[in-house]
Point group: C2
Chain length 165, copies 2
DNA sequence: TATTGTTATACTCTATAACTATA
DNA sequence: TATAGTTATAGAGTATAACAATA
């Protein structure tokens, strides 16, 4: 893990037929694959690709689905709380919420105790769409990780949470 | 895993003091945390944040480090192979390679058997920097995942590879 | 003075079309 | 014709600064 293999020969003298070009299409990714960061990013991109594909029918991106789910389980949640939970900066949340509101999926009402804030709620249409999307998400997850057993999936989630919690 | 909890009550009748606003700062992320995709993305962002911070001294981004590592272990690798391996589109690889070449870390030589392609190689300076960066990466990985035991880290990598391989 | 939500704006990342040189 | 590398450009994602209204 700590040792870095030294290159077979110094490329300081660029001879004509010096190093073997990668035969065919095989690329050695051995070192990168020892890194948790590399593997985590690759897996995330893999799952997100499936997610985006399946959620296209609802016209929902990953962050849209996250917002709807959080609003569903936290009715009256503020924009600021959504930003903090999803690591989205406030200026970038504005257009996001505005678009969902324009689509009639959420609505904002004055916060009962803080005059500056607006509480976000799902509309009936938003409840409907979120329920459908959540079901699609659950199914998609099974498909995107179908090489894992249920026990492995549970273990994977537990270890990932140990990383970022 | 497969069942989606139904919302506690339909918010179709927006009464005045209907739903409890999220008390204090607590947000219920329970549902999102059941999703492999959500947890994987969160963990990836967490590790990448540490990565970017520690690699700033080398002025290397994640993709820069990946390119240097692949070139180190695959001398003469082509731009196209780098693109395929790292999921970077060819037009976006151009500036990336050009910048590393301008910094004197890599050099491109005509491919011995394909007149269209250019083989990428590390320069001595590139070998030096890549070795240092790889050591920093290994250390950083330990720190970013220090809540995992060595065995857990190994298991995590194995499960992640089962997802995207 | 600090915070919520907002506008404007800039920077980065990613994606598409089209061209050239070679296979 | 197909592929490697490239240019130009568009779009999405992410970033900072500054402001009004409220705490």
């Amino acid at each position: 893990m700590s040792s870095v293999r030294s290159p077979k020969k110094s490329p300081s003298t660029p001879g004509p037929a010096d190093t073997t070009p990668p035969a065919g299409e095989l690329v050695d990714t051995g070192f990168l694959r020892t890194l948790v960061g590399y593997n985590t990013r690759r897996a995330a991109l893999s799952i997100i690709a499936v997610f985006m594909d399946r959620m296209a029918v609802y016209d929902l991106k990953v962050v849209d689905f996250s917002v709807l789910s959080l609003v569903e389980h936290n009715p009256g949640i503020t924009s600021r709380q959504l930003c903090a939970t999803l690591s989205v900066l406030p200026p970038n949340m504005v257009g996001l919420i505005a678009a969902l509101e324009r689509r009639g999926l959420i609505e904002r009402r004055p916060h009962p105790s803080d005059g500056r804030a607006m509480g976000v709620h799902l509309t009936p249409a938003g409840v409907e769409l979120t329920a459908q999307a959540a079901q699609t998400a659950a199914q998609l997850e099974e498909d995107a990780t179908n090489r894992l057993t249920a026990a492995e999936r549970k273990t994977l989630i537990r270890l990932l949470q140990k990383v970022y919690d």
